[in-house]
Point group: C2
Chain length 145, copies 2
Amino acid sequence: MPIHPSDEVVAAWARLIKASRLALAAVEADLKKAGLPPLGWYDALLELRRAAGPLRPVELEGRLLLAQHNVSRLVDRLEAQGYVARQPCEEDGRGQLVELTDSGRDLLRRMWPTYRAAIHRHVGAKLGDEQAATLARLLQRLLQS
Amino acid sequence: MPIHPSDEVVAAWARLIKASRLALAAVEADLKKAGLPPLGWYDALLELRRAAGPLRPVELEGRLLLAQHNVSRLVDRLEAQGYVARQPCEEDGRGQLVELTDSGRDLLRRMWPTYRAAIHRHVGAKLGDEQAATLARLLQRLLQS
DNA sequence: TCAATCTTGATGCATACGCATCGATCTGAT
DNA sequence: ATCAGATCGATGCGTATGCATCAAGATTGA
């Protein structure tokens, strides 16, 4: 097992970091310009909508790849704005259930047009569908195990 | 010009963000475990070494894709640890020159084995060289224009 | 020449993040 | 039943980031 990554791997790593930072900053800037909350809020609310029901913070932690204390504080902020509601968890007295509110659902709907346009502008416009599919497939490998 | 990115583009976007965050967190964790400074320090020092001479902060800003105030404070921290030195800029009285010190060169050398192993572990081990080259090429498109 | 504007870099302030730790609860072994 | 250890979520504290602004020097144009 080589400890030296190949030049190809090092180049892929360097561009992964640069490209993601650039694209993320550009998309966040578009959201901000439109007076919308940051992307992290969308991600969290989207996971809740996908789950079609309340989620435990620890589940959000896994799905969002966030540290525990960051989930705790993100939920604080979302709750303060009324986009989610915390409820006690019956099965586990330590835990709680985080639930999407109507206002949260509405925020998802309001953010998507701007978010969608930003994804197109900063990613879609630079890749064909075929290339995007290949990129998605390769990145998927980095997410596994 | 479509405002709707295709499903392939949206998937590529989502995985770009997730994969880069996961890989970055893993590599940072390895560096920290080895008692080494964060990756941003390495990046900055590396750009200075590549430049083979002092750089203006505004040049670092462009190469590192960082905001101006973040460069200013990153250089503060690097200077406080003796890894770089600020010098007045002759040609432009507003500006300054940031120069890599011997200690900074040494830090680059000391960090690389751990960094290299981390890149291999978290990226190289999951991609063949061919795949890494394809990934690098696709990501390059996101960095252009 | 000199005033208006732009560029460079620093900084005060508010917010977000990383780290360690805590209290509360659950789990499992005896 | 009980107790050690693990898990869940919150929080205090230090540090890093984003935002707005500022001072100083460069540049432009009349």
